[in-house]
Every structure is written in structure tokens, then in C-alpha cells.
Symmetry: C2
């Protein structure tokens, strides 16, 4: 299968939906609408939505079933980037070759755009999710998303990343941050897709383990691609490029092992995992 | 009935629940846990939770039924205050006689604590709401909360408030900001309580109108209490103290009219509305 074609096609599916649910003026202030869209269009690889769709398809559902969750994880991911870029956090003035939201719209509107993107993620899931299947599944996906977005995961990981000691520390400490800051939302994307696709409890548990391992390996691959030997919270600093690569491959193998029982229809999910970890490595 | 006793008793009910759901270290970073609790305990009057409980009771349910929603609206309200106080927004260094979150924990952790409080609001509702009754009701309450928190309401209102012209404008423009920035969340509190209490669609619609009118009158009462003649977005500047008071009373009467069919068990809700609008006026 062609993983790039899959990413492109599922990307178009989620983009069409995001276009519809993002607010427009006069329903919301014009600057806020612009700031909310700034980092959504054009976006990145739409890897999280693709994983979400592929997880639903791996359990036999049509990708459309997972659409509200796929949009929600992309909105949540985008909000976290907008806030990470703020002057009081990483203070980045560029992302994906364009000025960051606070550079274009000012700091106050950037904070508020992030806030509204988070609210929109939950709105989309509550509003559209009800049509995507039994409400129990939607509530479960929503709970996973909220936990992944919260103090024990995404936000807590960012707090610890900002305060990460520049020297010392060990691989477990780095992986704890990666697991919370990056892998939790990737796992929620996979689990949410599987849930909306109708997965049973055992499959949901395997999907969670798959998602966490892929998410962690994805983040390590990011550090390898950046040759991030100087960053405080980087496995490359502690293990070197080759050591970090080996760790990512081990995690990828563990992840793929979780999908052994799912057969042919899980092939897009497997290919996405390989792509996430090995792109350009 | 004694509205102060009702506020105290229902306040204790929601406080016990908030104490349980707020994160503690080592489940989340210690500074983040502290920052998230800073403005929750001790909190304010717990007016939104009280309205939420009273709405459930007005349709014949036990207050416990509305507990996840009551906690969620207080968490969401608290997040909005933490972000409103930030240097890039209202730049307030004190609230309720104590230093604001960013003064104690720094700006980055304050932004992140607000982010995590918003996520926790939805987590609590998704996680505990399922025990509070049919999942359709919970999803409905969640959708209302997300809409009230979003670009068309709370966040959009704050964006327009920050940019409100210091001169000119008319009462309708001021009320549009108040309706979105303050009244929408108050209405969601009432509607969510009614939904979890099992209200039918017609009652939900009346509760929404009641909540919006009370919320708007509450915000006008705030401006009157502050004698806010200089604030840009203040009805007192445009109508004077007496004119603003009359407008609040008209809105209160409209709100109470929506409850006419609900009889004796809606009395706490009526008394809370009177209290919200007339406290110390």
C-alpha cells in the first residue's frame, strides 16, 4: 500500500470537515477566526487524523465513522502548538516556514485562539460524534481525549519539558516527558478511532499500547531527524543517534506486535506506524 | 428559603468533588497541581455550580445528579479567570485578595494550568457524567459547555472585550460582549443541570433563556457594583447607574417568567437569580 496516498486522501477527508467546523465571522471575531485557522491550514502531515482513520478501518469500520475524532485530535494538536510557540513558552517566531500565531495576531489572541481550538475539539466530538455511533463509544473517546490533553499527559509533559534539566537525567526521564507530551495524544487518536469503529475492550487495550509505542518512537525519530544532541529533553543527547534509532526500532516492533491479530485490514495502520518512525531516517 | 445556606451547602458539595478530581503530584507536576488549585480553593461564591444544582432540582432530580456538570462549569470558569488575568490580557496581579496564578507560578505555568483546567472540565463530565444518567444527556450537556467555552461565546467575548472601543458604541454592543463572555457559561450551567436532571426539550429551552437573561443581568449588576463608569465595555458608562439597574431588573423579570410553570421546586433557582442580580445593589 502507498502510505503517502493514504495520508493525502485521509488528509483531504479531515480537511473538508475542519473547513466546515472552524468558525467564521460574524459568528466569531474576525481576528480570532483567522488566528484559529492560521496553523490548521495549511497544516502538517495530518498524521494523527490518519492514525485515527486507520484504527477505525483496522476494526472494519468506514473511515467516515472516525471523522469527528480525527478532526478533534488535529484541533487539539494545533492548540498545543499555538500555546507551545508563545513567548512565555518556547518563544518560536516561525513554524512550518510561516510566522507563528502570536507573531501575526498578538499574544492575547494567540492564547485565546488556542483556548478556542481546545473547546472546538470537544464541541466537534460532542456534536458530531453522536451521529458516529452509540453515545457510549463517543463518551469513551472523549474521555480518552480529555485525559490525553490534561495535567497527567500533554500539559504535564510540557511543564516538565520546560523545566527539564540541561544536564544529567536518564533515558527514562526523557521518555516520560515524550510519552506525556507527544505519545498520549497519538495514542488517544488511535484509541478513539478504534472506539468509534466499534472495537471491543481487548482491541482498545492493544490499540492503546500500539499508540503509545508508536507515539514515543515518533518523538524519538523527531529528535534523531533534528540531530538534537543539545536539547535537554532528547534521547539523542543521552544515547547518541544510533542508540536513539535502535530504541525507536524496538518501540516500533513492540507496537506492530500489538496488531498481530488484526490481519490485512490493519495494514494502513502498520504502514503509518513505520512511516511515523522511519520517515527520512 | 435561605439563599446563603443553599450556596454554602451546594458549595460544599461541589468542593468535595473538586478536591477529588484535581490532580495531585506525582500524577502531575507539582507546580502545575498548585497552579490549578490556586484559584479553585478558596474559590468564589460557587454561583455557577449552585445554579446548575438548582436547575436539576427544579426538574425534580437530586443535586448529586448534576455534580459532574457543576464541577465542570466551575473548572471552566476558573480557567477563564486564570487566562484573563495574564499579562497579555488584563494583566491583573490580584484576584479575590490574593496574587494571581501567573504572579505565583510564572506565566508559562499559568497558561498551562488554564489549559489543563479546561481539559479537566471535559474529562470530569465524560468520566463521571456516564454515571449521572443516560449518555445522551451527558453528551448534550458537554456540547452546551463546549459551545459556551468556544469562539462564538466565552473566548469570542473576551477577544471583543479586549478590543472594545473606549468611546462611542451602544448598549447592544456591550450586551453582546456580556452575553458571550459571561452569560453563555451561566446559561450552560443552568441548561446542563436541567439536562442531567432529566428535563424535556421544552424545559431545556426555557432554562436556556432563563440562564442567558440571568447571566446578562448578573454581569450588568457587576458593572453597577463596581460603579464602572470608565470601563469601555460597561452599561453603566452608557446608561448610568440607574439605567443599568433598571435594565438588570427587566432581564431578571424576563428570566423569572421562564420558570412560571415549574412551581415550588424551582424556588432555589428563582432565589439564586434574585441574589445574582441584586446582591448588595
Amino acid at each position: 500500500m502507498d502510505v503517502h496516498a493514504f495520508l493525502r486522501e485521509r488528509g483531504e477527508l479531515v480537511d473538508g470537515f475542519l473547513e466546515k467546523v472552524l468558525p467564521t465571522s460574524p459568528g466569531a471575531p474576525e481576528a480570532l477566526c483567522g488566528a484559529m485557522r492560521h496553523l490548521v491550514f495549511p497544516g502538517g502531515k495530518r498524521l494523527r487524523p490518519a492514525l485515527c482513520f486507520a484504527a477505525a478501518e483496522a476494526v472494519g469500520a468506514a473511515p467516515e465513522r472516525a471523522l469527528p475524532m480525527a478532526a478533534a485530535v488535529e484541533l487539539l494538536h494545533t492548540y498545543s502548538l499555538v500555546h507551545d510557540d508563545l513567548p512565555c513558552m518556547d518563544d518560536d517566531s516561525e513554524r512550518r516556514g510561516r510566522p507563528t500565531v502570536h507573531v501575526v495576531y498578538g499574544e492575547a489572541v494567540a492564547v485565546l485562539a488556542g483556548d478556542a481550538l481546545q473547546a472546538l475539539a470537544f464541541e466537534v466530538l460532542a456534536q458530531r460524534g453522536a451521529r458516529a455511533g452509540p453515545t457510549e463509544r463517543v463518551l469513551g473517546a472523549m474521555r480518552d481525549l480529555a485525559v490525553a490533553a490534561g495535567a497527567g499527559a500533554l500539559v504535564g509533559g510540557q511543564v516538565d519539558d520546560l523545566a527539564f534539566p540541561a544536564e544529567g537525567s536518564d533515558p527514562a526521564a526523557v521518555e516520560s516527558v515524550h510519552l506525556r507530551k507527544s505519545a498520549a495524544l497519538i495514542a488517544a487518536s488511535v484509541v478513539g478511532g478504534a472506539r468509534l469503529g466499534g472495537a471491543d475492550a481487548a482491541t482498545v487495550a492493544r490499540m492503546r499500547s500500539f499508540g503509545e509505542n508508536v507515539g514515543l518512537a515518533f518523538q524519538i525519530a523527531d529528535d534523531v531527524l533534528d540531530r538534537d544532541e543539545d536539547g535537554a529533553c532528547s534521547l539523542v543527547r543521552l544515547l547518541g543517534v544510533d542508540g536513539a534509532r535502535r530504541r525507536a526500532e524496538t518501540l516500533l516492533a513492540d507496537a506492530l506486535g500489538e496488531l498481530d491479530e488484526l490481519g490485512e485490514r490493519a495494514e494502513p495502520l502498520r504502514e503509518l506506524a513505520r512511516f511515523a518512525v522511519r520517515r527520512e531516517i
